[in-house]
């Protein structure tokens, strides 16, 4: 009986050691992939940082309408932020390559699912960036137009338009990632409706002002037939 127990233990130990021995190349491969990707990430980040600094990226970002990237990462300039994102992406890719070196089915499935998910992530990031650019451009257009029309609510209108486009972009991105499902749609509907209502109120109040000014001008014209607009530009 003791012989059989000893044999079973020996078999178990052999199987365990064999499995550990099978895992070892995978672990080494993972470590190697991580080290290589870290070195690569460091090199790419250094080159990218140098290129962006020579390109005066931080100032250009402010010109393109992103003066508040400091709001997202107070201690980081846009250059640092971008280089960090690129570096960590390279490390993540290295990690995924290392994981797939394991022979097991689970890690492979995990990696395959992650790679299938990647296009959606990229699409969401593109939607977010495009949404942010469009939001800022439209907000600026509305702000300048409203100020030139003498609307006191110019800033409110501009902020409203900015959030309207931003909320739309964020919702599209989240929907693309498949997070949240129905709750996201519901939240979007409430937020979008709220912003539209706020804008409608602001435009209504602003228009009231505009219409009353225009009526005043008309009244003064009819009250005094000699009224003439004295200012000419060309």
């Amino acid at each position: 009986m003791w012989d059989e127990v000893a044999k079973a233990l020996s078999h178990s130990m052999t199987r365990m050691l064999t499995q550990i021995a099978d895992l070892l190349p995978g672990v080494v491969a993972l470590m190697t992939a991580l080290v290589i990707s870290a070195v690569l990430a460091w090199a790419v980040a250094a080159i990218l940082r140098r290129t962006l600094v020579s390109f005066d990226f931080d100032r250009r970002m402010a010109q393109w309408g992103f003066p508040s990237t400091a709001e997202w990462a107070p201690s980081s300039s846009p250059t640092v932020l971008l280089t960090r994102v690129v570096a960590w992406t390279i490390v993540l890719i290295g990690f995924l390559i290392g994981i797939s070196a394991f022979d097991g089915a689970l890690p492979s499935q995990f990696v395959v699912r992650l790679f299938t998910y990647l296009p959606d992530v990229i699409a969401s990031v593109v939607v977010l960036i495009a949404g942010s650019i469009i939001a800022r451009f439209l907000a600026r257009s509305v702000l300048i137009g409203a100020v030139n029309m003498n609307l006191q609510y110019a800033r409110l209108l501009s902020v409203g338009v900015k959030w309207l486009v931003t909320v739309l972009a964020v919702t599209i991105a989240i929907e693309r990632l498949g997070i949240g499902g129905g709750i996201i749609r519901l939240a979007f509907g409430i937020l979008f409706g709220g912003i539209v209502l706020a804008l409608a109120l602001a435009v209504g109040l602003g228009s009231k002002e505009l219409v009353s000014r225009s009526l005043e001008r008309e009244t003064s014209k009819t009250a005094s037939q000699s009224f003439k607009e004295p200012v000419g530009h060309l």
Binding site: D56, Q63, R140, G145, V147, N148, N150, P230, V231, L234
Partner: protein
């Protein structure tokens, strides 16, 4: 240059005329006059010349039912007048496009007929008289000038874009003291016409602005420029709602021209006055009162809301001075000349560097321009023509004094930031 817009029967008639001494374009942008009115005006305008002349009149045909008017000639031995009628502008055309097309067609006809002088009138017909044609053509034909720019008789609050930006900017850049560098009514020689057309063909096809600023082309080509007093010019009612579009159109063209000619104007120092013919005449009395409150209010609204945008274009010292101006009470409100000149230069630089979208940049100057008008109106309350002239002279001097600032920022936009 192609004569695309001219109907074939008219083209055939132009071919039959062969050559002419003068081409006169008469375009009223507000109402279409019958072609006969333009012919009669030209005949009377050119009647005073002692030399025999062949003239071609180009105008839009306001007579309904006629695609073109027949070629005609006054039976006078000294003066033969032929006419060419263009179809009226399309409903979708903007005023700027209509002016561009008018100039394009007159220049094309002038080139085809190898004229010695050319005159284009785009001011309203009730103001543009036969004397205008004579005053624009005579310095070219009799005195050999290449460009005759207009001087109009205006009251204090008219022509403010010219007074505040276009004229002093042209003077500082090209060293020539012109009251209305962008016309729009001009007289020019055949030599300048050829010069403009050569430049146009060298430019990329489909360039929006035609003609390019004639005054700067003449200055660059070393051609003879003079001014001629034309008289009172009817003022179009101000469309306050679309003022920013007007500013974007006019300043956009001026800043583009500035960018193209940077190599030339950076070498120009000082300015000279130009020969001026005729007398100024008595300006019409000031009509109505300026609504100073809404002008200052527009400026305040701009300083409250557009700081972020102006911060991308203007240096911090200028922003500080603007904030200081915004704190002044309405009757004390002033925008100093030095500050205004630097603001215009900074906007020109921002336009060149594309600091922000060009349309945004040009439209965001509107509250500042309204602030300048308020400041000017307060200073010029009850002032006579000589005081107005002296005021504009001081402003022009400020532009000239600040030109080194413009040149430094233009050359080293990143390094030079006072």
């Amino acid at each position: 240059m192609e004569l695309d817009a001219i109907p074939q029967p008219e083209l055939d008639q132009i071919e039959r005329v062969g050559s002419a001494d003068v081409v006169v374009g008469i375009f009223d942008l507000e109402r279409l006059e019958p072609n006969a009115t333009a012919i009669a005006m030209t005949r009377e305008g050119l009647a005073g010349f002692s030399q025999p002349l062949r003239a071609m009149v180009v105008s839009t045909n306001g007579a309904h039912g006629h695609a073109f008017s027949p070629l005609e000639s006054a039976g006078d031995e000294k003066l033969s007048v032929f006419s060419c009628a263009l179809p009226p502008p399309g409903p979708a055309e903007t005023q700027q496009q209509t002016i561009s097309n008018a100039y394009r067609n007159v220049f094309a006809v002038g080139e085809r007929l190898k004229v010695r002088a050319c005159s284009v009138l785009v001011s309203p017909a009730q103001m543009a008289t036969r004397e205008w044609i004579h005053r624009l053509v005579q310095p070219v034909l009799d005195l050999g000038f290449d460009l005759v720019a207009p001087c109009y008789t205006r009251h204090t609050m008219e022509g403010l874009l010219n007074r505040s930006i276009l004229s002093p900017l042209h003077r500082a850049l090209y060293g020539e003291q012109l009251e209305n560098p962008m016309g729009p009514d001009f007289g020019l020689s055949g030599k300048l016409l050829q010069h403009v057309l050569r430049q146009e063909s060298a430019r990329r096809r489909g360039a929006a602005q035609f003609p390019p600023l004639l005054a700067s082309i003449a200055a660059l080509g070393g051609l003879q420029i003079c001014e001629s007093h034309l008289g009172v010019r009817a003022q179009r009612p101000t469309d306050w709602e679309n003022l920013s579009s007007l500013l974007a159109d006019i300043l956009g063209a001026a800043f583009l021209e500035m960018e193209e000619r940077a190599a030339y104007w950076q070498r120009v120092r000082g300015s000279k006055s130009l020969p001026r013919f005729g007398s100024r005449g008595v300006p019409p009395p000031d009509a109505g009162t300026v609504d100073l409150h809404s002008l200052v209010e527009s400026f305040h609204l701009g300083t409250q809301n557009l700081q972020d945008i102006w911060g991308l274009i203007l240096p911090p010292t200028t922003l500080l001075e603007l904030r200081r101006a915004a704190r002044l009470s309405e009757d004390q409100f002033r925008l100093p000349d030095q500050l205004w000149a630097r603001i215009v230069y900074d906007f020109a630089l921002g336009h060149r560097l594309r600091t922000i979208s060009r349309d945004h940049l040009l439209r965001s100057i509107t509250p500042l321009y309204l602030g300048w008008i308020a400041s000017y109106a307060l200073e010029m309350k009850g002032a006579g023509p000589s005081e107005v002239d002296a005021r504009i002279e001081r402003l022009s001097k400020a532009y000239e004094e600040n030109k080194p600032y413009l040149v430094s920022r233009w050359r080293w936009p990143d390094r030079f930031n006072p």
